[in-house]
């Protein structure tokens, strides 16, 4: 009997410990597991390494983890956006370390970690500051940089709908980093709008097969106590 449903956001992130590395899906306002992030914040695990494309804006999402001093390091491509005040403040204070990764290199490092590949050669960043100290190779006259896989202890995923097996479908551009992150952590937790019955999701529409997902939590049934 496979049933990956958990009853609450709190329960879904309960075992994320101090010092954990956590991938968080999303791009700008799109496809972010805001409920899981809020539950993680309330759970108070600190010294976290966060891997995500952006560093959050305003007071919610990753910005709230930074504000509360729970983040030690952030790995992302574009930490600075209009309203990324908490990232900028913590970075200026030297309270958070930044590993800046070109966006396509970030998603591919995550993808290959989930796919069992040991590294890849990319032309992106060749001859730039972001390739300094990295191994390079010239193939057929073109320069490449060796990039390594990037995995994490946990992945927080946002999708539109799921079933008890953790199969996921997404809404529009909300998928962004979510499918790769689901593959790259031994424990992947998905927050969805709706969990249907087995067989309810059109198999042709499933983007993330349930094998990559360990827990699903629905916004319909859960409530985060504040």
């Amino acid at each position: 009997m496979i049933d990956k449903r958990v009853a609450s956001l709190r329960e879904a992130v309960m075992d994320i410990p101090h010092g954990a590395s956590v991938m968080i899906g999303g791009f700008g306002s799109s496809g972010i597991p805001l409920g899981l992030i809020e539950a993680l914040r309330q759970q108070r695990a600190g010294d976290l390494t966060i891997i995500s494309n952006n560093a959050g804006v305003g007071e919610e999402g990753i910005a709230s983890l930074l504000r509360d001093g729970l983040v030690r390091k952030i790995v992302c491509s574009f930490p600075r956006s209009a309203g990324s005040i908490w990232f900028e403040k913590r970075f200026e204070e030297g309270a958070v370390e930044l590993e800046l990764v070109p966006q396509g290199t970030l998603s591919e490092r995550i993808r290959i970690a989930g796919a069992g590949i040991g590294g890849f050669l990319t032309p992106t960043g060749y001859g730039t500051k972001l390739a300094e100290g990295k191994e390079t190779r010239v193939i057929d006259g073109k320069g490449y940089v060796l990039e390594m896989p990037l995995n994490a202890d946990f992945a927080l995923i946002k999708a539109e709908a799921s079933d008890p097996w953790g199969n996921l479908v997404y809404d529009t551009a909300g998928r962004n980093f979510n499918p790769m992150m689901a593959m790259a952590a031994p424990l992947s937790i998905a927050e969805v709008k709706h969990i249907g019955q087995l067989g309810e999701l059109d198999p042709e529409r499933i983007v993330t097969p349930g094998i990559f997902i360990d827990r699903v939590v629905s916004q319909e049934t859960i409530h985060v106590p504040t």
């Binding site: 574009f78 600075r80 966006q103 032309p123 500051k129 972001l130």
Partner: protein
């Protein structure tokens, strides 16, 4: 000197986007190019977060927070458009599947080196996003930028002094003064706007320019 407005610069870039091309427009001024592409051309816009067939902004009240472009603005999807994940999106870029990318720049060098993500005196923490992937991957890379800085210092240089985004990646530069092509011989002026002369444009450019071929 005759200087094009930002709007006319975007209009000029739009003229060079052929019917049927797959195009990625960078954040800011490049995004405005879409407003000036003629209606009789079918151009498919790519957004790095995972969209092909990006349409115009939605009507007020019809925004979907998941459906945004690279600049985090609300967009729509045109009929025939589709969604995909970020790794596939960057495979489109890096793999040379996009015909044209349009990016802004701080500096461009005569060999086509591009600097558009950081300066040497950043007051803010760095951010790079998809610029380096787009720079190496698009079949043609168009740069749209003012010919000089606000202080009238050249931005088209022999060598970039700011950190590079990519080496030898720029194909064509559209400025408010002229259009220039990066060629194996060097930077060639292919169009001068208004009454601008080659000598005037050269005087505001650090790199040595080649005159238009038909002059």
């Amino acid at each position: 000197m005759f200087r094009l407005s930002s709007e006319d610069m975007a209009r000029r870039v739009a003229e060079d986007i052929p019917d049927g091309s797959y195009v990625n427009l960078g954040i800011g001024m490049p995004t405005r190019v879409a407003n000036f592409v003629a209606d009789d051309k079918q151009v498919i816009y790519h957004s790095e977060n995972g969209i092909l067939g990006v349409g115009p902004a939605p009507k007020p009240g019809e925004e979907n927070t998941n459906l945004i472009n690279a600049g985090k603005q609300y967009v729509t999807l045109l009929p025939g458009g589709c969604y995909f994940d970020n790794a596939e999106s960057f495979a489109m870029m890096r793999g040379g599947h996009l015909d044209i990318a349009v990016l802004g720049a701080f500096q461009v060098a005569e060999n086509g080196d591009l600097a558009n993500w950081a300066t040497n005196e950043d007051r803010f923490p760095p951010a790079v996003g998809g610029a380096m992937d787009l720079a190496v991957g698009a079949k043609k890379l168009f740069v749209i930028m003012r010919h000089t800085t606000r202080e009238n210092e050249p931005k088209i240089l022999q060598r970039c002094t700011f950190p590079l985004t990519g080496m030898g990646v720029v194909s064509r530069i559209f400025t408010d003064l002229s259009v220039l092509d990066v060629t194996p011989e060097g930077l060639r002026v292919i169009e001068l706007f208004g009454s601008n002369t080659f000598e005037e444009v050269q005087s505001l450019t650090e790199a040595r320019l080649l005159p238009p071929l038909n002059s």
